[in-house]
Structures are given as C-alpha cells and as structure tokens.
C-alpha cells in the first residue's frame, strides 16, 4: 500500500517532468519569436531584442528549462510576461473557477450516471433503448456544441440562467449555482453517457454472475443485492472511467469557460498561448497535470478500498 503510493508518486513526478519539458521545448523551439509575440507586431527590432534579453530568452533552452524547474521546486513559478502578476498568484486565482466547474461536474456526472445506468440495466425494453440512444448522442456531440445549444435555448431565449459570468460561492451560493448550471450541464453530458453505459453493462454482467444467484438463494431481497453487492462490484471499473472523464473535462472546460466567459484556467490558457506567455502556460500545465495525477491516485486507492481483490501495483 505505502510502496504503491510511493511508486505512483515517483511515476507521477516523472510524468510531470516529461509533460512540462515537452511543452516547454515545444513552445520555444517553434520558430515563433517569443519576445516578438509578447510585445506585438509594432515593436521595433531593438525593443524585441531588449525584451528577449530581459526575459532571459537569449540563453540556451536547456538552461532556461533547468532555471524554470529549480524555480518550481523552490515554489517560484516566475512572473507572467504580459501581466504584472506572479504565475502562482495568477494560476491559483483562476483555479478555483475551473475546479468548482470540474468537481461539480464530476459529482453530478457520477450520481446521474449511476442512476441512469441502473435504470437502463434493470428495465430492458424501450427505456433501455432510449437511454442507450441518448448515451450514443451524448458521447458523439462535442461539449462546446452542447454548450452553445444550451446557451441559446436556456439563457438567450428562455432567460432561465445567466448566459455568462461566474459568481464566487462565498459571495452568493445561489448565484454560484445558477452560474454553474449550464456549464456543468454542457460538460456533464459526455461524462454521464460514458459512465452510465459502463455502469449499465457492469450491472447486467454482474447480475448474471454466480455469486448473485447464490445471494438470491440466501433469501436476500433483490434491492439489497443490487445496492449492496452489485453496485459495490460495479464501482471499481466505473471509477476508472470517471477518472478518464475527469481529464477530458479539464479539456472541455477550456472551451466551456470561453463560451460562458468564466474567468478560469481555460480562458487563461487561451489568452496566454495566443500571447506566448510561456511562464503562465507552464504554470497551467503543471497545475493540471498535478491535479490529474492526484485524482488518478485517489481513484486507484478508492477502487482498491471498494474491491479488495483489485491489487495495487
């Protein structure tokens, strides 16, 4: 158990190193002049060179990366090229928006998916057919497409929800919920579809297992068998799908934040990549990959706790 966590943390650190290094070299080695991109097209050549020297861009790439890495290890992620703010302040101030969006989406997704999956598995017939068809569509339609449709219908035409903006939870919980409703709905559709179908097939498959038959022979009520035994067994594989969906939701959040004008990491990523604000991009990558690694670790531990037969390797 402890060795498992240590091994996973080591591989997580390696992963983080590989991811940040590839993005770093990628963004520098592209031939776009970073200083030029930062200053804009009107800057003179002298200004660009002065800026490059100021930002340390004239040094060899590997030196720059090691420099960045030592900074991160000491808790300093550098300053933004374009905004007068440190990267860690910038990223952390935006992270709460993206994290509330994604975490609420994961919770909503899990609850709905389990219900839909069970209903679908237990009512084979037209209900199942309709839910399955819905799941195929939910997987197929891009999240931002769904977001656009939702905004047009529920915000622009019906005016039930605000079309844009984000209200902090501490400021106004009800407003927070209203501002999250549509973005969460748009992001959750794909996840619900994927997880629900996983739950459905697991419930069907487990229902035919021999141990379930034996539980019936022991005189246990069907409801208890479903909720206590079948769901517990279905949980581990479903959790793995949830963790995969989580990574996908971080991607989806980029576009959804743009559509709903939410001041989150996704919008920051869009604006900082277009201005070649490399420290900010690196900060976002570091933050997101770290989050994914932590979530995956937690999911694995949870899966093992739910089903002791799952070996932690």
């Amino acid at each position: 158990m402890v060795t498992f966590i240590i091994r996973r943390l080591i591989s997580g650190v390696l992963l983080l190193g590989a991811a940040t290094a590839s993005v770093f070299f990628f963004m520098h080695a592209s031939g776009t002049n970073v200083a030029r991109a930062v200053l804009g097209t009107n800057a003179s050549l002298e200004q660009v060179e002065a800026k490059a020297a100021e930002l340390g861009l004239d040094r060899p790439l590997i030196v720059q990366y090691v420099d960045w890495l030592t900074g991160v290890l000491t808790g300093d992620m550098g300053d933004s090229y374009t905004k007068s703010q440190s990267v860690s302040d910038l990223v952390l101030s935006r992270a709460s928006v993206t994290l509330s969006l994604v975490i609420v989406t994961v919770l909503v997704t899990t609850v709905i998916a389990v219900v839909v999956g069970m209903v679908s598995a237990r009512n084979r017939g037209w209900i199942d057919q309709v839910l399955q068809g819905g799941a195929v569509l939910g997987t197929a339609l891009p999240g931002f497409w769904i977001a656009l449709v939702l905004v047009t219908i529920f915000a622009v035409n019906l005016k039930w929800f605000p079309a844009t903006g984000y209200v902090a939870f501490a400021k106004d919980p009800a407003g927070w919920a209203m501002s999250l409703a549509l973005p969460v709905a748009a992001l959750a559709v794909a996840g619900v579809s994927g997880v629900a179908m996983q739950v459905r097939s697991a419930v069907i498959e487990l229902g035919q297992r021999e141990f379930v038959r034996t539980l019936v022979s022991h005189g246990l009520p069907p409801r208890r068998i479903l909720f206590r035994h079948i769901l517990r067994n279905a949980a581990s594989p479903a959790l793995v799908i949830v963790s995969l969906q989580f990574v996908g939701m971080l991607s989806g959040a980029v576009v959804v934040e743009q559509i709903f004008s939410m001041p989150g990491l996704g919008r920051l990523a869009v604006s900082s990549t277009t201005t070649s604000d490399i420290p900010v991009v690196m900060g976002i990558v570091t933050f997101m990959v770290t989050t994914v690694i932590i979530v995956n670790l937690v999911v694995d531990l949870l899966a093992a706790w739910l089903n002791p037969k799952v070996r932690l390797r």
Partner: protein, 601 residues
C-alpha cells in the same frame, strides 16, 4: 490457390456480406451511413454544388433569408452560408482524416508489436500511453497552436499523436487475446513468419474493433477541430464549421439563426459516425436486438405465470397424493429456454421425482441432460431466458411455484438451500467471509449483529473450519477452493434448511479435497437429518452417498428407484450404458473418510 484456401476465402467473404446485411438490419445503421455519406459527398463536391465564393462579402445582402440564390441565407456580412458550410467541411474533414491516419498508423503498429512481442516494448508503450492519458489534451493543443501558429495540420497531427494510445490499447489488448490461441500457435509451429502471422491471423482479429474505434476517433477529431476553430485557434484561412459557430455565437442575440446550420451539420456528422460505430459493434458482437423484447419475463415472472394458467400434468396428482415420507415432490415439471439463436426450446420434459425426508437423492446424467436446470427450477434460481411451463414443486405440502416473489424469498428460511458447483465464483469478492455469512442471518433471519456473528462462527466450526474467527475476517480470494466450498455449505446451513440441493459440489475442487467435502456433506446430512438432492455426473460419488437415484437423459427421467435397484439391477438400457462407461476403465474409488485436519481442505 489451394482448395482449402478457396473454401476459407469463400467462407470469409460470405461472413463479411452477412455482417453487412446484419448491420443494415439495425434500425439506426442505415440512416447514419446515409447521413455520413451524404455529408462527405456534399463537402467533396463543394466547388460544383456551391459555386459562390464562400468568402465573398455582400454587405447589402447581410443576414438574408434563405432564397434560391442563397439556399441557407447569408451571414452578418452577406456571405453565402450554404457555400461556407460545404467549403468549411473540407478542412474539417481533411483534418479529421489526418488525425485518423496518424492515430491508426501509430496505434496499430505499436499495438501489434507490443502485443505480439511483449516485454520491454510493451512496458515502454504502456508508459507512453499513461503519459498521454494524463495530459489535458486541449492545453497541449493550445501550446501547439502557440508553437506552430495557425497551422491546422500541425495541430491536428499532434492531436493524432495524443489520441493514438486509444487505438494502441485496443489493438494491444486484442492481440494479447489471440496471441496464445491455438490457431496462432499452429501457424507458428507450421513455420509461418511473424510478419505473416501478424498480417494474416492477428490483423483479422483486430479489424472489426479497429474500425469501430476509428469511427470514434474521427468523431472526436471533428469535435476537437471545431472547438479549436471556435476558439479562433484553428486555421486562419477560409470558413470552418467551428469558425461559423463562433461567428454565429457572437451574434446570438441579433441573429441566432446563424448558429443553426453549422450546429446542425456538425451534430449530424459526429453523431452519425458514432451511431454507425455503435451499430457496427452491436453487429460484430452479435447482440440481436430482437432478443431483448423477450427478456422482460424474469424467473419470478415465469414462476407466477405457471400459477394458474398451466394445468398440472399427471392425472390425479394433488398435494394430498404426496406420500408422508416425501419432503419434496417434483411433479411433471417442464422447462423451456428462449434463446435468440434457437428460439423457444424445451429442455426439461415432464419430470417427476421425490426426495424422501432425511434421505439423499442422486440426480445423475451426462452434462447437458438438464440436471442443473432442474435443480435451479426447484430453487427458483432459473436465469432469465428460462421459463417453467408446467408442473409443480411441492415442498412439505406447499407448491413453491405458486408463491409470490416475496413469499418465495421468505420460504428460503427453513426451506431449500443451495450448494453451488464453483465455490470461488459464488462468493462476492468485495466482502469478507464474515460479512457474507452474517448477512443472511441478520437480513433474512432477523438476528442481531452479535448473535449473527456467534451463529456464523458455530456454522464454520460445524463445517470443520479450524479457526472460524480468522476465517471470518478473510476475503474470498484469501482462502482456498476447498475452504470456500465449506463456507458455502455453512452459508446454506445458516438458512436452517430441510433440503439441501448440492450441484456437483466437488467437481471444481482438487481431487485431494473432494473426498473431505463429500464426507462432510454426509456427516452433516446424518447429524442433522437433512434431505439432500445431489446433482452429479459422478456415479461413484452417487453410489457412495445416495439412498435413491434418478437418471436424467435429455431432460427426461429414464429410471429412478433405490440405489441398489438402479445400480445393481438397472432396467433402462441407458443406465446400463452409463454404468458400463464408468466401470470399464476407471480405478476403484477410495472410501470416503473425512480427514482429521479438515480445516486445511
């Protein structure tokens, strides 16, 4: 081409055309295929079908309604929407094609090699896979866009790399699955080169899942590309669907209709790809849709349906006619299976048998004779496609088939208990032995937690488990098969049954453990005065344990009576054949003695 080669080819070709025909029978497949083909065709022929320049502005005619000249109207600066939709699709579809090509080429090559050769290559590829799976794709694509500028094909190429692991995992796992199949071994032994085996045998196995995955990848690629264009990070030249959505969205209050056409075509394209892929999967996995309609009736339903409608077979067979020493009377039970392949088939025909109080009835017969299904119909544990079509199962004067599901569940206390064949598969892997033993005691028998724990420990001692307390804390995967079977016997006893139905209780166990479990069963039967219905194909076991024997063949009882009568004076030809087939070359069976150290079994 050799003769066998020709035949094999013909069979394969026929199978392929059958697959296509089955696919088209899926109600969603044909519309999806037509939609997809139509969109691809429209986009490919954009220059002919939409001759207007998609970028020509005409401010006088902005936001024009659909007309003959502009079939979908014009946008905010008077550009022809029809032309923009068709031309915009070209870049989108080409980009998706690029993603698909890269993902399939890399995923297939890596998957085939890693799956076939394994070892370090497999480990390296797995690590690369988990790396890309942990990356938020959109952030990487944004970085790529910052690096390469508005070069759509570079960005989509990188997306192809990022999504290749999904193809890789699929191919690798499929190859792993068939790699050690006998026909691959045979090909290897007969000297075929690895390349030939890979391309001929293994590629054939991964083709169908690969096509399905490709549809999924294409659908996702189109969505991602549209998203990038929507963010204004895609290509900077010419119209795209995502770009049109973005333009429409910026004017959503003024002209929401601008969103309609690009949203429609994008939705249709991605959805038809995935619907088609799903239909294909259903077809390949041979999940006939028609079968589902018949599934509604559960085992419980079939029990209820036999309540009034079906007349009991056998003249004059009323509960009162059951002799007093008979605990369980199976009276003219028939049972059908409804499978999509064979339709409705009767597999147990008008079977009657009697288990006497405190005695052991052996139900013997070959595998496939219907023994287990008959046992399940007594237990009320038939799987869904099975249905009891007639007869009665009378336990102590009550016809179990007439009980409601709730009554049936209650009747399991002090009724019929079940000892399964495969002990490991019959314990829930998520719960400890203690949990599983105490649950029926608490839930079905209403004991308190402490009482249930004490009873469970006593039961474990009764089945000769040495350290009940330690065993209670273990999970099923932490105990041996013989131990698991003892646990299941204890669980059956916990219901305080009058009748035990043991379905091949030792077949799945090691030979060394078998005799111990059989001796345990006999001891319990004698100590507790239980009646037992022992389902077995092992006539030696039956002779050792049973008082009475019923011989089942093809779902019919061919002979029944006392063990002496049936085994020493068989009247049916079939029984004689069965006996002859065993005693011909089998070694004599050692006596059943319960080993002293039973706890280790």
């Amino acid at each position: 081409m050799t003769l066998t080669g020709t035949i094999a080819y013909t069979i394969r070709a026929r199978r392929r055309s059958q697959t296509l025909a089955r696919l088209m029978r899926n109600p969603l497949a044909a519309p999806a295929l037509v939609t997809m083909a139509a969109i691809v065709l429209l986009v490919a022929l954009a220059d002919i079908l939409a001759p207007l320049d998609p970028d020509a502005t005409d401010l006088v005619n902005s936001l024009a309604a659909p007309s003959w000249q502009h079939p979908m109207g014009t946008d905010g600066i008077g550009r022809d929407i029809w032309s923009r939709i068709l031309h915009g699709g070209q870049i989108t579809l080409l980009g998706a094609l690029l993603v698909l090509t890269i993902a399939v080429v890399i995923g297939l090559t890596a998957g085939l090699t890693a799956g076939y050769y394994g070892k370090w290559l497999d480990a390296a590829a797995s690590w690369g896979t988990s790396l890309t799976l942990a990356l938020p794709v959109m952030i990487v694509l944004l970085a790529a866009r910052a690096a390469f500028g508005p070069n759509l094909f570079a960005i989509m190429g990188i997306f192809g790399l990022l999504i290749a692991p999904s193809v890789y995992l699929l191919v690798r796992n499929s190859v792993r699955g068939v790699r050690n199949e006998l026909y691959v071994d045979a090909a290897r032994v007969s000297g075929l080169s690895d390349a030939r085996i890979l391309s001929r045998h293994i590629l054939a196995a991964v083709r169908a899942p690969l096509i399905i995955q490709a549809m999924f990848v294409a659908s996702v690629a189109i969505g991602v590309q549209a998203a990038l264009d929507f963010l204004g990070l895609g290509t900077s030249t010419g119209p795209t669907w995502g770009g049109m959505l973005s333009e429409g969205f910026s004017q959503v209050y003024k002209a929401p209709q601008l969103l309609f056409w690009p949203a429609l075509i994008l939705g249709l394209m991605t959805a038809s790809l995935l619907v088609l892929g799903n239909a294909l999967r259903d077809t390949v996995e041979d999940r006939p849709r028609a079968a589902r309609r018949h599934r509604k009736g559960s085992a419980q339903d079939s029990v209820r349906s036999s309540d009034g409608g079906v007349p009991a077979s056998g003249p004059g067979s009323t509960p009162s006619s059951v002799p007093a020493d008979v605990l369980l009377a199976v009276d003219g039970v028939s049972l059908t299976y409804n499978t999509p392949r064979d339709g409705i088939r009767e597999i147990v025909h008008d079977v009657s048998l009697a288990v006497r109080r405190g005695k052991v009835l052996g139900l013997v017969g070959e595998s496939g004779s219907g023994k287990t299904q008959l046992a399940f119909s007594i237990l009320g544990l038939l799987p869904e496609p099975a249905r009891i079509t007639g007869g009665r199962v009378i336990l102590d004067g009550t016809d179990l088939l007439t009980l409601s599901p709730m009554q049936r569940r209650r009747s399991r206390i002090g009724g019929v208990a079940y000892i399964p064949q495969e002990p490991m598969a019959n314990l829930d892997p998520c719960f400890t032995i203690g949990d599983q033993l105490t649950e029926p005691l608490r839930v079905a028998r209403g004991m308190s937690r402490a009482e249930a724990k004490r009873t469970a420990e006593d039961l474990l001692s009764a089945v000769s488990i040495v350290d009940p307390e330690a065993t209670m804390r273990r999970y099923p995967h932490e105990i041996s098969g013989g131990m698991a079977q003892r646990v299941l016997i204890a669980a059956a006893l916990s219901l305080d049954p009058k009748l035990l139905i043991a379905d091949e209780p030792t077949t799945a166990l090691d030979v060394t453990v078998q005799s111990g479990v059989l001796a345990l069963l006999r001891r319990l039967q004698r100590e507790r005065g239980l009646a037992v219905l022992l389902v077995t194909h092992d006539l030696g076991v039956a002779a050792e344990l049973c008082d009475d024997i019923a011989v089942l063949r093809n779902g019919r009882i061919v002979e029944s009576g006392s063990v002496e009568d049936v085994f020493y004076r068989p009247s049916a030809e079939y029984t004689r054949d069965l006996l002859a087939s065993i005693f011909a070359d089998a070694p004599p069976r050692p006596d059943l003695i319960e080993p002293a150290s039973g706890g280790n079994a």
